[in-house]
Subunit: 368 residues, 2 copies
Amino acid sequence: MILKFLSIINFKNHENTSLKFDENINCIVGPNGVGKTNLLDSIHYLSFSKSYFNSIESFNIKEKENYFMIKGEFFNQEKQELDINCSYTNKKKVLKFNNKKYDKLSNHIGKIPLIIITPIDSNLINGSGEIRRKFIDKFLSQIDSSYLESLLFYNKTLNQRNALLKNSHNTNDYIDLLNTYDDSLAEFGTQIFNKRRDYISSIIKTVKKYYNIISNDREDIDVEYYSELQNNSFKNLLKENLQKDLVLQFTSSGIHRDDFIFKMKETNIKKTGSQGQQKSFLISLKLANFDLLYTKTNEKPILLLDDVFDKLDDNRVEQIMTILNSDNFGQIFITDTSFNRINSVMSTAKISCKYFLYNFNGTYHEKT
Amino acid sequence: MILKFLSIINFKNHENTSLKFDENINCIVGPNGVGKTNLLDSIHYLSFSKSYFNSIESFNIKEKENYFMIKGEFFNQEKQELDINCSYTNKKKVLKFNNKKYDKLSNHIGKIPLIIITPIDSNLINGSGEIRRKFIDKFLSQIDSSYLESLLFYNKTLNQRNALLKNSHNTNDYIDLLNTYDDSLAEFGTQIFNKRRDYISSIIKTVKKYYNIISNDREDIDVEYYSELQNNSFKNLLKENLQKDLVLQFTSSGIHRDDFIFKMKETNIKKTGSQGQQKSFLISLKLANFDLLYTKTNEKPILLLDDVFDKLDDNRVEQIMTILNSDNFGQIFITDTSFNRINSVMSTAKISCKYFLYNFNGTYHEKT
């Protein structure tokens, strides 16, 4: 997938930005605060109809304005043009694909395959299991719309079951309803469990491959999937935990409690990994997702790299550039604060790219 | 305060490290994973008898070992030698000051003034109010041992009051005990409130000064203290909220709910600031703490800078080096992955320093 042209109005600190991109590598370079990350985020927005950074939409509107608009002209590998237009006014979001409005925003997910790597991904290592679940759910929804549907059904049913547990003082009256919910949870939950399990086992080799390249075979990493469904059927779990659930007034078991443990040397990488090793792990994980997304969609995803060289030593940076310079990758967007650094990285790797060089005042000039 | 000599055994990935430092600037340079951050953390440990990164002590012991030991030889501006020795074996921590064991670890706080700046400080902006409160509590404890005492008393009383609210079904029986707790909370809580308020008003000018230098006067920042005690006495607050507390079964008001809002352009910098601007803010805040700590202790604190140049543009890096090169600062430790980068930063700023250049295998050589 290639983004040819991007236009942004009133999105974060961009008042009115229009850019024509190179089909290969685009480097957005400039001092702090000119809006490099926000530019990547606007591209992410066109793919997911969501900011990667702010879930509160009003935060995405430029100060003192009351709407924002992002427009992108993409073309896929069959050279078909895809126009995406997204606007947010009066608390209402409108998303158009080739000028046709979507009924449901979720129908858009997967149309523009995209992978983003940014410094806040360190949350995936340091944050709660919920953050890891959401990350994997978001990715699997991109390659499998039935996954997204199962997830939406599961969460809806879970909320209903929890409401029932909370409000019913004599559960015998509601036993039929509870059984119906349990059937639904078990059906959708088991589908989700299977897909998460298959996903982990299908990416693990690729994550390790990339990590070995980046680290010069220096460390051993792994990903493990923790789920109560590994050793029990969902139906059984719900049955066994019913008395506990009635006391707690919520559903204490299920795939909404799953976790994914990222490991180095058989321990959580949160404990054993340095900042650079953790970052290398996250890049490997994201690049493995890239490969899987490419295989599933048969379309090279757009790759957004925000401050990707931070914390990494020169050797790891070089190895990453070797990976990115292969035929496997298509259009890439990279942000950096230092032209000298990125220019030297590109020269060393013998990669040609288009630079957008920003000044302090937000103006820029292009350079190839 | 100067750290002359450091010896580490089995701390994180350091098996046996002994280093002799320069009195001015020491640069720890090397590839990812050799233990640069862990080295700074061992110095932090000697000052606070705690890791900056892991509160679970067993995580600080090297893999497959059962203890760690850190030893530092410091001297203060009166040229007195201070030996700090900290060991952790069998879940027991022993801290010695000039070979004398402390009865209470808290008595050590403030003896070795130290400020650390690291990438995980971004939690202060993106995390909860609790993280900001803990940061400010930790800093104020360093300059004022009576602050630490008030805080320990306050938290103890708060826990007792909450236990009472949770377990007593008829509070009339316990009204006397509750009154005693309320008197204590009000006394210590008001002391803490006053000191937090004075602290914010005393640093705000310095934070702004440093931010203006770093950003070349490009952005306006501010810090605001939010506390219910701004408009009400603590006694009144507890009285007004008693019925609510009885229902909730915990103390819903007080200085344990305070927050500190970091602002740019009159909005939370979390919303309006780029990663580089947020980092500049955090550096300014920490350097303001440095100044205050220096004033209060009459001793130049040790300054630990972990990956301080990440995310910052060349101009900001230059401005920071100009600040650090002034007489105000003493011994500084800096980590970086790139010798070329840090060497060029130091040369531009005309600063001489001692380099510890690490290899992949954990060996290093010195260079001045």
